[in-house]
């Protein structure tokens, strides 16, 4: 199975867009830890822009970047949204409403509480009627999302946009699951090389060992990896940024990795 990486988006501490992140990940620019400030997505209506949660903002921001240069109509793209927690800002509001004896909840909060709300806003905003899914796999959510998107491209021979996004929890749930900062990454996967392709993924297999090459700029990545599940995306993005053939291993579970060979397109 060969799959091409044909668009990228990223937002995280010191990583603001793929162009800048590429420089930082290859050590050509200094990495400065600062949290992203993310504007409301332009595809939403004015009313939705005002109300949309930080999670939806983050997801749509990175999704938009990966398709900016895309040779495909955005409305024709399938998508996989990967997130380990759901929208905990909305869910926390609902849980507070449900802890009262009246249990009166906001209908808008309720429909925004579904895990696939960002996917819903993405398809509505772009008039996109293609298949979209939303998955969760705890700390392994990026790896499982990548695996799902790759096998989907392989089976359908159609491009697929992978969007992975994780936002810190508001209190009191923040004490129960640690996400230190907002981070998201998005990858447009295509079944053939296209004008915007930046890398090819081949020899994909699951493995019980971590076969990843030593990362030249591992300090940035190591700093982020354990603090946000979406940071696992950097294991792949770093290979793309380096423009050299490399093998990487993305965690899928305890002693399970998705082993990939990343080469020039």
């Amino acid at each position: 199975m060969n799959i091409w990486i044909s668009g990228l988006g990223v937002e995280g501490p010191g990583l603001h867009g793929w162009k800048q992140a590429r420089q930082t990940l290859t050590g050509k620019a200094a990495w400065i830890f600062d949290e992203p400030e993310i504007a409301a997505p332009r595809i939403l209506s004015a009313r939705e822009r005002r109300r949309c949660s930080p999670t939806v903002r983050l997801a749509l921001r990175v999704a938009e970047e990966a398709v900016e240069q895309s040779p495909f109509e955005v409305s024709d793209l399938c998508s996989v949204f990967a997130n380990s927690t759901g929208d905990t800002h909305v869910v926390t509001r609902l849980l507070n409403q449900l802890s009262t004896s009246e249990k009166l909840v906001s209908p808008t909060d309720f429909h925004n509480s579904v895990h696939n709300a960002p996917a819903g806003y993405w398809t509505i905003g772009h008039g996109n009627k293609q298949p979209t899914t939303s998955i969760a796999a705890g700390r392994n959510t990026f790896g499982m999302g990548l695996l799902k998107a790759m096998v989907q491209v392989n089976a359908t021979k159609r491009p697929c946009l992978l969007v992975c996004y994780e936002h810190p929890f508001p209190p009191p749930l923040d004490a129960t699951y640690s996400i230190a900062f907002p981070m998201g990454a998005s990858i447009l996967l295509t079944p053939q090389p296209v004008a915007t392709s930046e890398a090819k993924i081949g020899h994909a297999a699951t493995d019980t060992k971590n076969n990843g090459a030593k990362l030249p700029n591992a300090n940035v990545i190591q700093e982020l990896l354990s603090k946000n599940p979406a940071a696992d995306s950097l294991l792949l993005l770093e290979c793309v940024a380096s423009s050299k053939p490399a093998r990487t291993s993305i965690p899928l579970g305890r002693n399970t990795f998705l082993s990939l060979e990343v080469t020039a397109p």
Binding site: S84, A119, T133, A155
Partner: protein, 393 residues
Amino acid sequence: MTLLSLTGYTCASAIGLGTKDTWHAITNSLDGLTHCDFDGANLDTYIGRVSALDEYALSRGLREFNCRNNRLAALTLDTDLFSKKVADAVAKYGANRIAVVVGTTSSGIQEAEFAFVERADEDRPLPKGFKFETTQAHSSLADFVAAALGLVGPTYTVSTACSSSAKVVADAHQLIDAGFVDAAVVGGVDTLCWMSLCGFNSLQLLSAKPCRPNDRDRDGISIGEAGGFALLEKPSIDSQICILGYGESSDAYHMSSPDPDGSGAAAAMRAALNQANLDPDEIAYINLHGTGSKANDRSEDLAINAVFGSGQACSSTKGWTGHALGAAGILEIILTAEALANNVKPANKNIENIDPDLSLSVLTESRQMEGNYAITNSFGFGGNNCSLVLGKR
């Protein structure tokens, strides 16, 4: 073309534990829905409740996953010898060659509901016993199923609201097709909780009577908890029931209302038929999403009329089970499989007057099925649609 063999399945809902009980209840028109007596939810609505759950506890090694949703998962895995069938598949393929892909909307959020009530005021931390990752998190269900069955292949949860546990079939096919695994345990579980009951109440979508899909006077849904699992394998000649096609689409219309013209739902059915290489007139029966809301049943009718023309034999089985939300997909895959295996098109419960505006041929009584192919529809919030074509050898 056969995509996958359905080599084992099991379900639990308000009308029965196990496939045999469930099918017996449907073909003998037993009742599953009761007036809402769910602690803390004082609502004038009907619910489908799995009463066996009240007495059920997780085995010692799995206690960290303890929540209503995982208890129903365990109870479901324990019926129909399903765990034994998976153990046989492990012996055949290896524990790392079987994926777990399961659907849920609210997972174990009930634990968080209790934790928020327990703390004295909004500034206090949650009680120490509350564990997010193994209960409330969506991945808790997939992790629990993998742990309970001893599986170590790719494991994740799909959460696309009420289409969740239908879409898992696509995941199973794609993972097997790419050679990452040889089989997959798919399914879904959703359980009663304040979030679902009060949330749907806030949208004014709950009926005060047992839901009446496709009835002229239908006025909303009844929520019912359910669990269901299926073992899907590479096509084999031993298996009677198969998956022939899946079709997925988005409405791109609204977060919680279906596109009134049904075009997204129609696209999902066309894609599933196309993959199955079948003509619409080869489909003997459609198990409808059929929630009993005014909007859903009307738009689904338009969608089916656009693909199949008028008079297509259909029923919604939600009058028995209630709407199992993220578990509705798998529950209705299993009922559609049973319909094919038993040559019976199940009736649509609770109909007094078929809505005269619908073009479907709604089955008010169970009928003999002639034909080998059926479709089941699942649609969810966010405009997320999935149709599956099942066939019988």
